[in-house]
C-alpha cells in the first residue's frame, strides 16, 4: 500500500467522521459508496472539497465523480495524474 493510499484513508476517516473505522479496515478496491463503505451524497461533496484542498484538483465535470470516487485505488490513480500540490 502506497503512502498516498494510507494518507487518503486517514483523510477520509477524519473528514467524514468515520469514528469507528481504522485505516486497515478499508480495502483499496472496496466501493466507497453503496454497499461498500456506505458513503452518501453529502460525503461526495466532502470528497470534492478534499481533492481541491489537499491536492489542488478542481473537478470541472461533476460526472467524473462516479468513476473517481469508486474506490481508494481509483481516487489515488486520479490524484497521481492530476495533483498540483
Amino acid at each position: 500500500m502506497s503512502d498516498l493510499h494510507t494518507e487518503l484513508k486517514k483523510s477520509i476517516i477524519e473528514q467524514l467522521n468515520l469514528e469507528d473505522m481504522e485505516v486497515s479496515e478499508i480495502e483499496n478496491d472496496e466501493h466507497l459508496f453503496g454497499d461498500g463503505l456506505g458513503l452518501d451524497s453529502i460525503d461526495a461533496l466532502e470528497l470534492i472539497v478534499l481533492l481541491e484542498k489537499d491536492y489542488g484538483i478542481k473537478l470541472s465535470d461533476p460526472n467524473q465523480g462516479k468513476e473517481i470516487f469508486n474506490s481508494i485505488n481509483t481516487m489515488a490513480d486520479f490524484i497521481e495524474k492530476n495533483r498540483t500540490r
Binding site: Q15, E46, V49, E52
Partner: protein, 352 residues
C-alpha cells in the same frame, strides 16, 4: 377540542433521568453545563450519528425513546422548539470560513447549521413525511411548538404528535452570553444557584420530547391542558394574566397543586417568580429545576418532563422543592417560565 394525552416522554440534560427516583444530583462548578452523554449508538445508526451535533443527537435520541414508550412508529407531525438551533455546526463552519479566508468550506457543517436540522433529521430517521415544523422564539420556543400541537390536534385525523424542545451549547458562541451578563461572571455550584445574588445564570444544553395523542393509554402520564405565550408583561400584570389563563381552563389558583417555576438565579429578573412565590402561590408547593439542569431557550421542555413525571408518579421529589410545603396527590401542575424578563410561558397539565 379533543383532549391531549402525554403517552411517552424522554429527556437528556446535565442530570440523569433517574434523578426523579434517586434524587442524586450531579454537582457542577462551572457556569456552562453540558448534557450527559447517552448510549446514542444503541438507537441511532452510526453512519447517521457521525455527522450529528449534540442538539441533533439529543433530539433524535429523546424522540425515539418517547415514541417507543408510546408505541408509535411514525407520528403525524414533528414539532420542535429550539431557541438557538444547531450552534455547534454554525460555529464549525464559521471557524472554517475564517481559517480558510473564505475559501473552501466543508459542506456538512453548513448544511446542518440551520435551526430545523433537528426536526429534519428526526423525520429522516423515522421516514416520517408528515407535517414538520421548527419554532425559534427565544425562551418560548417549546411553548410555540406546544401551541402548534394544540392546533394540529384540532384536525381529527391527527393521531400522534411528536413535540419537543432542544438547545445545545457551543464552545465560543455560548461564551458570548457572558458579554451581556447572561452567564454569571463568578463560577458557582449549580446547587447554590438560588442563593446567588448576582446577575446572570448558568447556561446549559438539554432536550425533552413527548409523544402526544388524543387517545389515553393505561401508560399515559398526564393530560396536557393548555399553553399561553406572553411576549412582554409588567410584574403588576402577571397575577391577572395567570388567573385569566386558569379561568380559560375552568380552574383557578386554589385548584393548582404545584407550580414549577423557571427561577434561574438572575437577580435582575427572578422577582417575576418571587412575586408569585410570595403572592398567589404562597400556599402551594413550589418547584424549581434550573439549579439542576441550568438555563437554555428550550429548557421549559424539561419542566414539562418533570410535570409529566410528577403527575404520573403522584409524588414530588424533595430535590426540586423551593419551599417546604407538601403535596400528597398532585392533580394540576402549572409551569411558569420567562427569560430576561421577556417571553413568558404558561403551561397547564392535569393528572389522569
Amino acid at each position: 377540542m379533543s383532549k391531549i394525552y402525554i403517552n411517552g416522554i424522554s429527556s437528556v440534560s446535565p442530570q440523569s433521568e433517574d434523578i426523579f427516583e434517586e434524587e442524586n444530583p450531579l454537582v457542577y462548578k462551572e457556569n456552562t453545563l453540558t448534557a450527559l452523554d447517552q448510549d446514542y449508538k444503541s438507537i441511532i445508526n452510526s453512519m447517521m450519528l457521525r455527522r450529528m451535533s449534540k442538539a441533533v443527537k439529543m433530539g433524535l435520541y429523546c424522540s425515539k425513546k418517547a415514541l417507543l414508550e408510546a408505541e408509535v412508529e411514525i407520528p403525524d407531525a414533528i414539532l420542535v422548539g429550539t431557541g438557538q438551533g444547531c450552534m455547534q455546526d454554525t460555529e464549525k463552519f464559521m471557524t472554517n470560513m475564517l481559517e480558510s479566508e473564505e475559501g473552501l468550506l466543508s459542506p456538512t457543517s453548513f448544511i446542518q447549521s440551520t435551526h430545523n436540522t433537528v426536526g429534519g433529521q428526526i423525520a429522516l430517521d423515522l421516514k416520517c413525511k408528515g407535517y414538520n415544523m421548527t419554532f425559534t422564539q427565544n425562551s418560548v420556543s417549546f411553548e410555540s411548538a406546544l401551541l402548534d400541537a394544540i392546533l394540529q390536534m384540532e384536525d381529527e385525523s391527527t393521531q400522534n404528535i411528536l413535540v419537543g424542545g432542544v438547545d445545545e451549547t457551543s464552545q465560543e458562541f455560548t461564551g458570548f452570553q457572558r458579554l451581556d451578563a447572561q452567564i454569571k461572571k463568578e463560577n458557582i455550584s449549580n446547587l447554590d444557584l438560588y442563593k446567588s445574588e448576582s446577575s446572570g445564570t448558568i447556561i446549559s444544553e438539554s432536550a425533552a420530547f413527548f409523544s402526544l395523542a388524543p387517545e389515553k393509554k393505561a401508560s399515559s402520564y398526564a393530560e396536557f391542558k393548555d399553553v399561553e405565550i406572553i411576549n412582554s408583561i409588567e410584574i403588576s400584570g402577571l397575577n391577572s394574566k395567570i388567573e385569566l389563563f386558569l379561568k380559560r381552563n375552568n380552574t383557578s389558583v386554589s385548584e393548582i397543586d404545584a407550580v414549577i417555576l423557571g427561577r434561574n438565579g438572575d437577580a435582575r429578573f427572578d422577582h417575576y417568580y418571587e412575586e408569585l412565590q410570595n403572592g398567589m402561590f404562597l400556599a402551594k408547593c413550589q418547584l424549581g429545576f434550573k439549579h439542576l439542569v441550568g438555563e437554555n431557550n428550550a429548557v421549559s421542555s424539561y419542566a414539562f418532563w418533570l410535570a409529566s413525571k410528577i403527575l404520573k408518579e403522584k409524588q414530588i421529589p424533595e430535590i426540586f422543592k423551593l419551599n417546604t410545603l407538601n403535596c400528597s396527590a398532585p392533580g394540576k401542575v402549572l409551569i411558569y417560565n420567562q427569560y430576561l424578563g421577556r417571553n413568558h410561558g404558561l403551561i397547564l397539565l392535569q393528572s389522569l
